[in-house]
Structure formats: structure tokens, C-alpha cells
């Protein structure tokens, strides 16, 4: 056995295999450290029993909304979870229809030259750092909303900034999903004498559906994980918003704001929210992956 191993190491491929596998193992160890570390830091929060109300603390914290007042030992994550979801859903609600229509525009309406320019613009904007969107939101959008309905820094501001941020991604992924629909399908629809609107709505969109959905889910994951842009424009008050104009604090912003000085259970609760976000974002990416695979299969079979 030993001799065989040594023999193996003597060949060039064996050496490569061994050293690369070692490298991979090292990296996996490092990355696993990150996950384990997250879990171990969050552990006290996850298991601590609530002495006051009975039952598990985590459960209470998530569902009964005792509010987020670390100084008073109250760690209710519910308002921030709701805020995170509200911001994400709001952004998707705005960005999805607009992005989708822009994808359609790029694929079916824009002239070739204009489409190229438009794509360039979208690519450029997809690469712009979130902090720049935050800066723009803080100096343009927030004062604008303030005039209308103070305080300005609000759920609405966060939704608008985020939807601007994910719009280019959604438009580009929808356009490429539409482009990957087999050509025969389109020519077939034309040959049937369908109206252009029907071609797009009844033939092309359903065929490109899973690609579009996958792109949207990825955008949603990005919106959920975004920290800086939201932190800068959302006002960061921990509450369940009654209207669009009330400030909110999302989970990521909470970590950024409080991590510097959190200790004990407070710190554990921040890590727990990080863990929670990770799981949700991972679930979303996994869904996107499954849908993307479906799309590829579909394309291949035709």
C-alpha cells in the first residue's frame, strides 16, 4: 500500500494530483472554518433558553417581536427580517417588470447599434459598486423624498436604490435568456402569422421563463445580501414599517452598525442573523442553479 502510494508520487501526474488535492483540502478546511466559525459564534444565541417566558429563546426572538434593544437584553430579529424581505420584494417588484421589458426591448425592438450601446451601459452599471448607488441615493433620492414626506431615509428610498442596482442584471439576464430560445421557435411563430406581441408573450417568454426566473432569483439574493447601499439610505430604525416612508433597518445593515462593539449574546445574535441570511441566500442560489440547469436542458433538447 505504502509502496504503491510512493510509486504514485513518482509520476508527474501523481505529484500534481497529490499537491492539488492537498491545496483543495487546505482551502476547504479554511472555508469550512468560516462556516463552523459562524455557527460557533451564533451558537449561544441559537440554544439559549429564555428564562422569562419559557421555551426556546430563538423561537421567541423570531416570532414574538420583543424589539431590538441590545442594551436591555432584547434581541428580536423579526422587524429586521421583515424589513430585509420587504426591501428585497419591493426591489424585485420594481426591477423585474422593468428589467424584463428592457430585455424584450434589447432582443426584439432595439436597432443593432443602439442595442450594443445599451448593453454597454447596462454592463457598466451592473459593475458600479453599491456604495456609489448608496451615495447617489443619499444625496439625491433622500432629500427628494424628504421634501415630500420626511424623514426621507426610508423603506422607499432603500427599495428604489436597490431596484436601480439590480435592474441592469435582470435586464441582461432576461435578454440572454430570450436570446438562448431556439431560433426555430421564433421563426415558427412568425410562419404561423402570429402578431409580434403574441410571438413575444405567448411563445418567447414562456420558452425563456426558467432563465428569467433564475436571473431574478440571483438578483434577489444580491438584494438580500446588500449592505452598504441600504445602510446609507434606509434610516436604520428597527421597526416594522407601516408605510413606505418609514425608516427600516435590514439584517445586513444591523451587522455593519453594531458589530464593532457587540459582545456576548448581542454578538452571538448578530452572527445568528448572518447565518440566517447565508442560508436564505444559499437557498435562493440553489433554486437559480436548478432552474438554470433546466433551461440548458431545454435548449439542448430542441
Amino acid at each position: 500500500m505504502m509502496a504503491k502510494c510512493l510509486d504514485h508520487l513518482r509520476s508527474k501526474d501523481g505529484r500534481w494530483n497529490a499537491s492539488l488535492a492537498l491545496l483543495t483540502a487546505g482551502m476547504v478546511a479554511l472555508l469550512l472554518t468560516i462556516l463552523l466559525f459562524l455557527m460557533s459564534e451564533a451558537w449561544p444565541f441559537l440554544i439559549s433558553a429564555d428564562t422569562g417566558h419559557g421555551g426556546n429563546r430563538l423561537f421567541t426572538n423570531l416570532l414574538q417581536n420583543p424589539g431590538w434593544y441590545p442594551l436591555e437584553g432584547r434581541f428580536g430579529l423579526a422587524p429586521m427580517i421583515l424589513a430585509s424581505l420587504a426591501v428585497m420584494l419591493g426591489a424585485i417588484l420594481i426591477a423585474l417588470p422593468l428589467g424584463l421589458i428592457n430585455g424584450i426591448y434589447l432582443e426584439f425592438y432595439a436597432s443593432a447599434a443602439f442595442a450594443r450601446g445599451f448593453r454597454l451601459l447596462l454592463n457598466l452599471l451592473a459593475g458600479i459598486p453599491s456604495v456609489v448607488f448608496g451615495l447617489w441615493g443619499l444625496t439625491r433620492l433622500v432629500p427628494w423624498i424628504t421634501q415630500w414626506q420626511p424623514p426621507g431615509a426610508s423603506l422607499l428610498a432603500a427599495i428604489l436604490v436597490l431596484s436601480l442596482m439590480i435592474l441592469p442584471t435582470i435586464a441582461l439576464t432576461s435578454a440572454s435568456a430570450l436570446a438562448s430560445v431556439p431560433r426555430e421557435l421564433h421563426t415558427g411563430a412568425i410562419a404561423l402569422g402570429l402578431r409580434r406581441t403574441s410571438q413575444i408573450i405567448h411563445i418567447m417568454l414562456p420558452a425563456a421563463r426558467s432563465g428569467i426566473v433564475a436571473g431574478t432569483i440571483l438578483a434577489a439574493a444580491r438584494a438580500l445580501g446588500e449592505t452598504m447601499a441600504v445602510l446609507m439610505v434606509a434610516g436604520n430604525v428597527v421597526q416594522i414599517p407601516a408605510t413606505l416612508f418609514e425608516p427600516v433597518r435590514v439584517l445586513t445593515a444591523n451587522m455593519a452598525l453594531e458589530m464593532a462593539y457587540a459582545v456576548g449574546e448581542h454578538r452571538a445574535s448578530l452572527f445568528a442573523s448572518g447565518l440566517l441570511l447565508t442560508l436564505v441566500v444559499w437557498g435562493l442560489s440553489w433554486m437559480a442553479y436548478r432552474l438554470g440547469r433546466h433551461q440548458r436542458k431545454f435548449a439542448r433538447h430542441d
Partner: protein
């Protein structure tokens, strides 16, 4: 290709560690209170001028961060704009200046004073419009500090409030952010370090300070021990600070920096 890359990485790592050994003796890292930071930054600049081989880095993040970083060793010296809590053991406190916490509003706001009850009512959400306290018809934007900042704790203590009773519209971190937020919103009210507020006003930022219990929120009143909401600005170290940290703290407590403290609108402790 891979051998060469590995070699390169090793070389880089070696260089880095050499750097580290050389750099460690002459570097000082301070973190903590955003109230103390601007003052210490000026002190550090002067100290560096006198000792060119020394490098002092100052970062903010709130008093509690100063306490924590000093305890974990991330910072050589912590900055805190409050006294230590009973749970925060193992640290030494070195007071370098005195400051107050004052209420600020936008400069265009016609209100010239608020009673303590009015302030409490505004902060607990009972009063939501300036016209209820004699001002214009404009809804009030309540600016509150994030937890972990001693200015918040001082404010809550003074008004006997719990943070859960406060109904804020915006949560801010550093003093500067509070000033910026109030300066950009005509209906806003906030509370910040008096030193920081006076410093900003002197440069034309559109805020104004309101008196507290009839005492003007100014450096002079803090100095005269008349202003009710005053606090020490402290530097924190572990039980056995490095020689450099010791020297810097001695410098920060000496007469040589009295003018800097005055320039930043703080009070030299007696």
C-alpha cells in the same frame, strides 16, 4: 509554473513578516469614540511631528468599540467618551478632556429652547410636529444614536429614558453623521457632542444648539461646570501599556496639547 508561483508567494510572505517586526515598535493604533477621535487625531499629528519615526492610526466606531478593541488587543489605546461600566474590567482610564452633550436642530428652525419634558415627549413620539412646541407646521425628524455610543447612554440616563421608549426616525452612528443629518433636514432634532457641534458651526454648518435647563450648550458653560450633561473624554489602556502608549498618553495629558483641546471646543480637565 506552480513552483515559481509558490516561491513568489513565500518571498512576499517573508517580506511582510520582516516589515511587521520592524513596524511593530513604532506603531500605535487607537479606536473608539467618534467624539474623542478628532481631538486625538490632532494630538497624534503633533506627536508624529515631534517623533518622525512614530506612526499613530486613529479610527472611530463608538466608545464600546474602544473598550472592546483594547481588551482584545486590536487597539493599543481605546477612546471612550464615558466612564467604564462595572463589567469592563482590566483597563486603565486616562482622562484627557471634558465635553458636554447638547441638543441640536436645523439653523432655520425658529425654536430657541425646549423644556426637558418637551424633549422627552419628542423623543418618545408623543409630540410629532414642531407646531406643538411653538414652531412651524413641520413634522419632527427624531435623530437617535445607535447603541454602543456613549452619547446615547448619557442622553438616556439624563432624561431617565430607556432606548425602547424612544421613537426615532433615523439612527446615526458618529457625531459627524448626526450633524450632517440634522444640517440636511429642516425638521430634524438630534443630540451630539458640544465640542463637535461648535466646531462644525464655526465652519458654517447649518445647525444650532439649544440650551438645556436654561444653560447654553457651550464650552464656556461646560468649563464652568454649569452644563448638566457633561462627561469625561478618556483614553483606555490595558494594565501594562507599551512604553510608546505610555509616552503618548503622558503627551495627551500635558500642557503641550491644551491649545488643541481648545481648538476642538473641549475643556481641559482640572
Amino acid at each position: 509554473m506552480f513552483q515559481r508561483l509558490t516561491g513568489l508567494l513565500l518571498a512576499v510572505a517573508l517580506c511582510l513578516s520582516a516589515y511587521g517586526v520592524q513596524a511593530a515598535d513604532n506603531r500605535l493604533i487607537l479606536t473608539g469614540s467618534s467624539t474623542v477621535a478628532p481631538l486625538v487625531l490632532e494630538m497624534a499629528k503633533r506627536y508624529e511631528q515631534q517623533h518622525p519615526q512614530v506612526r499613530i492610526d486613529v479610527q472611530t466606531g463608538g466608545s464600546t468599540r474602544g473598550v472592546n478593541d483594547t481588551r482584545t488587543g486590536l487597539a493599543h489605546i481605546g477612546m471612550a467618551s464615558r466612564n467604564l461600566k462595572p463589567t469592563e474590567t482590566g483597563l486603565r482610564v486616562h482622562t484627557i478632556a471634558i465635553d458636554g452633550v447638547g441638543i441640536i436642530v436645523h439653523r432655520s428652525n425658529p425654536i430657541s429652547s425646549l423644556s426637558n419634558t418637551q424633549i422627552i415627549d419628542i423623543y418618545t413620539g408623543k409630540i410629532r410636529n414642531w407646531k406643538d412646541v411653538g414652531g412651524r407646521d413641520l413634522s419632527i425628524t427624531v435623530v437617535n444614536k445607535a447603541e454602543g455610543h456613549s452619547t446615547l447612554e448619557l442622553f438616556l440616563n439624563y432624561f431617565a429614558l430607556k432606548n425602547s421608549q424612544v421613537r426615532p426616525s433615523i439612527i446615526i452612528g458618529d457625531n459627524e453623521q448626526g450633524i450632517k443629518t440634522v444640517a440636511g433636514n429642516p425638521g430634524a432634532i438630534g443630540y451630539v457632542s458640544i465640542g463637535a457641534a461648535e466646531f462644525s458651526q464655526a465652519r458654517g454648518v447649518t445647525i444650532k444648539r439649544l440650551p438645556l435647563e436654561g444653560v447654553a450648550a457651550s464650552v464656556a458653560e461646560v468649563q464652568a461646570h454649569r452644563f448638566p450633561l457633561a462627561r469625561p473624554l478618556n483614553l483606555l489602556t490595558g494594565k501594562s501599556p507599551s512604553p510608546l502608549a505610555r509616552r503618548f498618553i503622558a503627551f495627551a495629558q500635558s500642557e503641550a496639547v491644551a491649545d488643541l483641546i481648545a481648538d476642538q471646543f473641549f475643556v481641559v480637565p482640572r
